[in-house]
Symmetry: C2
Subunit: 204 residues, 2 copies
Amino acid sequence: MTDGAAPRRRGRPPRSAGDDGPGTRERILAAARTEFSGRGYDKTSMRGIGRAAGVDAALVHHYFGTKEAVFAAAIEVDFEPALTVDAILGDSLDGLGERLARHFLAIWENPATRTPLLAVIRSALTHEAAAKVLRGVVLRRLLERVAAELDVPDPRLRAELAASHMMGIVIMRYVLELEPLASTPPARIVALVAPTLQRYLTEA
Amino acid sequence: MTDGAAPRRRGRPPRSAGDDGPGTRERILAAARTEFSGRGYDKTSMRGIGRAAGVDAALVHHYFGTKEAVFAAAIEVDFEPALTVDAILGDSLDGLGERLARHFLAIWENPATRTPLLAVIRSALTHEAAAKVLRGVVLRRLLERVAAELDVPDPRLRAELAASHMMGIVIMRYVLELEPLASTPPARIVALVAPTLQRYLTEA
């Protein structure tokens, strides 16, 4: 009756306590995030993810299917802090621009959340497959939900213009490290940027 | 008396009509732009640039010194259209936001100018050496000159906020190809973005 005695079947992942218990998917996902973040999309392989997670590569395939799918799942985790938009949207559109600006800068100011996000953006900018995955996650989890709350013409376009400004700030502040933007206190940036976001999101 | 009979000296480029005549520097620079654009910063070598230009790698070193310096020279050429800011600044700050938005979108709408610019941005986002070079060129040739014309507190910060918005639009429209932004007519984007740029550049 025990799985441990069953012969291994070709093409199916081995089932043993260490390999495929509760938490295995999470362990693979954590390893995948480390691999993608450290090596970039291109140099990360299913085999490498398996090795980092201490499981056979076949188990990585079993849980996720393809490298693109593992990347998508990793992005969902990495973007989780950026995607908790419900609290930011709140009950009213008043002050939405300021809440969004403050929320995004807080995520990017924190190295623990910044590092994996930067890795995702770098991968997306250099690999079409990664760009496609990021596009899907950002659209579905962030832009469509913000757009649904807006009362302006072309709400999706408005949400994308607001998001583009935040993305450009992220790249110039944290990647290119252009001064004085890179060392300007977050509160000052929020004060300057909030009216722009507010206008895109609320003014017809 | 002829150079042709002189023995080659170690560490100095050979001098012959095909190698080092007028236009050699330009030929090397053109080859470098093609190499950086096609292969990215990391995979481009001084040897590869020399091969593509039909000259010895020593000549590439002779003219430019280091790979970073060739990259800097290539960026200056690629960014030339984006850096002709004098005409855009014009005589008055009225309508500056609109002129800037229209100018930048025109450059990015044209595949001949978009392709090398995208390659430069991708290199800068993935390699610190390339980021440093881009930072220097953009600061000196674009941001400092725009900032010098402004009559607001923190003019450099204002110029960088305006530039960050354009950079974010470029990435979301041309790299991630997020819809509807990717297929929105340039004139519509200019109309929406111009007031933002105008506010950053002129309102205290």
